[in-house]
Assembly symmetry: C2
């Protein structure tokens, strides 16, 4: 995967947070993830298949996960509960959907989101996928989108 | 999703561990996951799409992850490193591939595996997917397969 693939996911994340949450995401510089694991607290992950195969993950710090859920649900959950994992799953779904539409030539299908909760968990992609990490800042703290895609051979 | 969907994943996990690792998995009774979160240490997850949408996750305790990697690589990694996450990703891929072949009528495509590492992490599926949890025992400790699938409407 090359860094160019990051752009549709970056644009989709900015647009999803703005539309759904009224939250302005300020993107940092995307980088190839390499051996630097990034620690997360709440991560939504969706698999992608089609003319490319891969996955996209949306990771939020605890405060960002709770505030995003509050913006979606109209009330702030007291803890990282099912309401929060459903909200993060739905946001991941929308980011994947928006990027898919921007990558029409790859005819991507998205799977269902799964959401991982656990302080300090890290996420690894297959080494062939050379995932790109896109860091964002927002008023709620850190938000990260990671995406790894491998184009499939025709035939 | 109904409990019947568990069978192809159960059979594929038993067959993958036997063929790839020479390890006998003893399946327990599959159950609908409900509100009981299961804590994991190393989890491989793959998205599925086609006439059904969902995901399958393979979770191993630390000892099972290290021993499975040792069986695949011919030497035991000193810690849960990239070799371990690659091995768990590949096992998840094979379990998904075997189940896909047993569920041919659903024309499933699999995404790339991502692997989550972090003591005590939990994984949530969307509530509509009512994931099934299949616990296994093996000489290395606990192995769990979780699968959530929603059949898509034709059209």
């Amino acid at each position: 995967m090359t860094i160019e693939f990051a752009e549709p996911f970056l644009a989709s994340a900015v647009s999803t947070f703005s539309t759904m949450l009224g939250c302005k995401l300020i993107p940092g510089e995307p980088f190839i993830k390499g051996d630097l694991p990034t620690e997360h607290e709440v991560t939504g992950v969706i698999g992608l298949s089609g003319k490319a195969k891969g996955a996209v993950a949306l990771s939020l710090c605890r405060e960002a996960a709770l505030s995003a859920s509050a913006a979606m649900l109209g009330q702030r959950p007291s803890d990282v509960n099912h309401d929060v994992t459903d909200a993060v799953g739905e946001l991941t779904n929308m980011i994947a959907g928006g990027a898919k539409a921007r990558l029409e030539h790859l005819s991507l299908s998205a799977s269902l989101p799964t959401v991982i909760v656990g302080q300090g968990h890290v996420m690894e992609f297959p080494y062939q996928a050379a995932p790109v990490c896109i860091p964002f800042e927002c008023p709620w703290g850190q938000v990260i989108v990671e995406v790894g895609l491998i184009e499939q051979q025709e035939g």
